[in-house]
Symmetry: C2
Subunit: 360 residues, 2 copies
Amino acid sequence: MPDRIYNFSPGPATLPQEVLAQAALDIVNFNNKGIGLIELSHRSKEFMAVTDEAESLVRELLSVPDNFKVLFLQGGASTQFAMVPMNLLARDQTASYLNTGTWSNKAIKEAKLFGNVQVAYSSEKSVFNHVPSSGDYQVDPAAEYLYFVSNNTIYGTQFHDFPKSDKLLVCDMSSDILSRKIDFTNFGLIFAGAQKNMGPAGCTVVIIRDDLLDRVPATVPTMFKYKTHADKGSMFNTPPCFAIYVIGLVLKWLKGLGGLEVMAKMNREKAAILYEAIDSTDFYRGHAEVSSRSLMNVTFNLPTPELEAQFIKEGAALGLDGLKGHRSVGGVRASIYNAFPREGVEKLVVFMKEFARKNG
Amino acid sequence: MPDRIYNFSPGPATLPQEVLAQAALDIVNFNNKGIGLIELSHRSKEFMAVTDEAESLVRELLSVPDNFKVLFLQGGASTQFAMVPMNLLARDQTASYLNTGTWSNKAIKEAKLFGNVQVAYSSEKSVFNHVPSSGDYQVDPAAEYLYFVSNNTIYGTQFHDFPKSDKLLVCDMSSDILSRKIDFTNFGLIFAGAQKNMGPAGCTVVIIRDDLLDRVPATVPTMFKYKTHADKGSMFNTPPCFAIYVIGLVLKWLKGLGGLEVMAKMNREKAAILYEAIDSTDFYRGHAEVSSRSLMNVTFNLPTPELEAQFIKEGAALGLDGLKGHRSVGGVRASIYNAFPREGVEKLVVFMKEFARKNG
């Protein structure tokens, strides 16, 4: 086993080595204050500075408009599936959802507990191998918002153009936030679990337009109102301090690389190397339609499940870890988020060619 | 400033140094696997083993009966204030609450969103300076459960005997879980945010009797049903991996010390040293009534707010940090949870005597 493996896991996922090294120091003694990072009171000036910096880096890197709040919450994206309709959808109202995979499906299920749901599009019949273009569906004119998942981790598809609609857009960006620039026009709410592109598990970043905060009914419990957290700068109760701290480190690393334009270019290049290897032989078959291919999760199959199992096993032995595809599609999935190094992709491609030659 | 300060913060709070040292190693390279702890997939066998060990240590140390589930959730105790009634209280039913401070007050507010609430006792008029004995209140005979907070962080009070009632007991043990043994008879649900006595912020441990899991109405969102998490061993969605890992380390440390009986003895001794210092002079006045005094949070006042401010400032300069009382009671609060070292208490007492001599 090499000193450090290449971790292709879909999340929790690989993080920059310099982030881990810094966290190791701060956990024992934060900024030489004689106290560990995770022992700091969340209301101490030291920790407030950590949170403030993380928030301002989110704002800077994503160019978040001033009329949006940035929140650091708990409960994962799965909690957002309920919080979105709890806050934005009244019993007699309708919301429109694009069903492009497991995560949108789960969000639809939760939304139905609160109001009417129009599923404007579903790619379920083709095993979610693509995302729709804006002309492919009709959004209910009465819809309060149009919900979509920007990148579908399990199926390896991604919206390269966001839906064109006059509706308020609500987006689960868990698996591609900070991988490219976003135009916030039409967006009302974006959320993302941290554990793919931003940091460790345990924190969900929510970016919400401030005029939406007051829509929430009084009957919603305090902790499930976005307004509760917005009013207190994510400090209504003890936040997930460690995760916020690591997010801050990852954002600093990303800024140091040159920000989102540089990152997006690196992501395009990494993914191109891998898709080229897939397309250069009949041995590998990409799951996603070409125009919907994700730059974050590259999914492909081999001629047989037996060969897939062998591929995953031999790859792991070479330090290419976490390549097993999700059970819904089988095969191989290489998750190559922001922090995944290009060298790991190159090593995988060398292995793919060798494996195809031997077993093709 | 000394190498390591004495951290009297009420939470996030001080942790054992050996826990921090181990975490620093594992964050960079977990068990020499060539992958950092927070990069591990939550479904990897390595991380599943971390969770399994943390759960079995909770069970072993607290002697949790087999018919209880142990869950690792997110959202803090504040989320439990809503989840408890969402899962256990129907619209036409009644729950009984003992109001012994800020946290029970907040729990009462959330419960009222879901059903009828009887506040069977409140110590609010005496600034929550005590907790009731079982004879002090009458529980509504129709109550589904009796809710109480075992230790009141802000006011420095603690139930030394749990309520005697034939009702199902529901308890917020955020600030004294694992400080002593618990008799689970009559308990239906216990929850505790980790960041005081168990680990870092970001995880809430819930211990729930398994026959209660099916009470939840179908209209409750998936993530807010205890059953969702119980059925999937806290892995329905990505759990707060890092916090669970640190909880496991803290529990191993606690087991190594000799478990809860040894810990309870150490806690009694530490608190006795401090209360003796308070009682030995008129300069310091304890906030809590003697019979309700907390072994976890020791609250006291000085003759004037000016002297209190000076005390906190001079203490901090000596490395006695986080002594400022909560704004609701002012004065001084020394939080001395499990991991707080006895030497720190002794150093505080030396400082208290010196400060009283100079300013008395």
